[in-house]
């Protein structure tokens, strides 16, 4: 099978307007992923499915990932030659920057016809609040139907063009998206005989004095 680099080169030639970048994977399993922009995602997906070389007709896994906003401290080292003629000094410069948060959908594509794979396709949203619409790939691979519903349910990504976008696992009246990293679970509490730290905190909030029976 072609390497992700070759696929990227072919995609760049075929879709000049699309932004296709490689996302490296440092794990030993290392398989770089193709990050495509949302506007061209469906065209690229169709191309990957129909291309006679690749024929990625089977989308095995589709899932969401939440990347909240995080502060990144970058240390840059620069070597300065000492004007007085001494050994060069190393200056460390720390820059803080805030990496904006986003939601990501990952598709693992295989080919049943040619028995190869995977090609990993990633699509990212603009942010985590209001720009959370991505094109649905259900028209390309039917197996995304329930998986995209699950992502919509648990991560809150809206898929445009999905035939039946409803909550899958949570009930319809449920608000919030439990798989997001900043999801706060509702404050329901049941007494437990072995209170651990978090549960103990909750117990203290729910009862003026924690119950004495069970553990002292």
């Amino acid at each position: 099978m072609e390497t992700p680099e070759q696929i990227q080169a072919r995609l760049a030639a075929r879709f000049p307007a699309a932004a296709v970048t490689l996302v490296p994977n440092p794990a030993p399993a290392g398989m770089a992923a193709l990050l495509v922009d949302a506007a061209h995602a469906r065209q690229i997906a169709f191309f990957l499915r129909e291309d006679p070389e690749l024929k990625l007709d089977y989308c095995s896994n589709a899932t969401g990932i939440d990347w909240p906003e995080k502060e990144i401290v970058e240390t840059t080292r620069s070597t300065l030659a000492d004007p007085a003629g001494g050994p060069p000094r190393t200056i460390e410069q720390k820059t803080k920057r805030i990496q904006p948060g986003y939601l990501e959908v990952v598709y693992h594509l295989y080919s049943m016809a040619r028995k190869h794979g995977p090609v990993i396709l990633r699509v990212r949203t603009g942010n985590r609040t209001d720009q959370v619409t991505l094109p649905s790939l259900t028209p390309v691979w039917r197996s995304c139907e329930f998986q995209e519903r699950e992502i919509y349910d648990l991560f809150g990504i809206t898929f445009e063009g999905h035939p039946d976008l409803r909550r899958l696992l949570m009930w319809d009246e449920f608000t919030g998206h439990p798989m997001r990293k900043d999801y706060v679970e509702p404050d329901d509490y049941e007494w437990e005989p072995t209170p651990h730290e978090e549960v103990l905190e909750k117990a203290k909030r729910h009862y003026a004095a924690p119950e004495k029976e069970g553990t002292p």
């Binding site: 007494w191 437990e192 005989p193 072995t194 209170p195 651990h196 069970g214 553990t215 002292p216």
Partner: protein
């Protein structure tokens, strides 16, 4: 001919029906409470604490290091280490609670314990009417003798004894002048603990 498959199937059923009267392969039911089955040696149910010697609480191998508490996936273990009058840790648990209504018998506590202090029990008839305190086992309920451990998992216990003896030899070689510790007293296997 239509119906042959049906008749063949009925012949199989008839063979099983007749066979159930004389062939043990076809009559596999065990009349459980009257006729107890033998559990395999590796069978695991809920954890218990092993103690050496005669005193259940003083002889506990547990040093209250809280590793099992941290590793337990459903967080069913609750430990408070004991301290003496001066506030120094005595390396004994003051509280060792195990909530068997939460425990899922995964035996990760046994795997991570560096002191071979917690092992899996085979006693499963622990039904109770009180779902909170009836299913919360304290260190008194959990402490069971080394001899009991030998009686339920003989192979595993023999291996554990070897490891412990090896560790002891190494410790003694390190601290030569120290007096040799008394060998663990051997007790006859005690009957399984009563239902809580």
């Amino acid at each position: 001919m239509l119906g042959t498959g049906l008749l063949k199937g009925l012949a199989v059923t008839a063979k099983n029906f007749v066979g159930s009267f004389h062939d043990p392969k076809r009559y596999t039911t065990v009349e459980y409470p009257e006729q107890p089955t033998k559990l395999p040696e590796n069978y695991r149910n809920f954890p218990f604490l092993v103690f050496d010697g005669e005193q259940p609480i003083d002889g506990l191998r547990c040093v209250a290091c809280k590793i099992c508490e941290a590793e337990c996936p459903p967080q069913c273990i609750y430990i408070i280490p004991d301290r003496d009058e001066k506030g120094r840790p005595t390396k004994k648990p003051k509280v060792f609670d195990l909530d068997v209504s939460v425990c899922m018998s995964c035996q990760i506590c046994v795997e991570v314990c560096p002191f071979d202090a917690i092992k899996m029990d085979q006693h499963f008839e622990i039904a109770t009417a009180d779902r909170f305190n009836g299913l919360l086992l304290h260190r008194e309920d959990l402490a069971k003798s080394d001899a009991y451990y030998h009686s339920i998992h003989p192979t595993e216990a023999a291996q554990v004894d070897e490891i412990l003896a090896e560790a002891k030899r190494k410790a003694e070689a390190k601290a030569k002048p120290a007096a040799p510790a008394a060998p663990a007293a051997v007790k006859p296997p005690e009957p399984p603990a009563p239902a809580v």
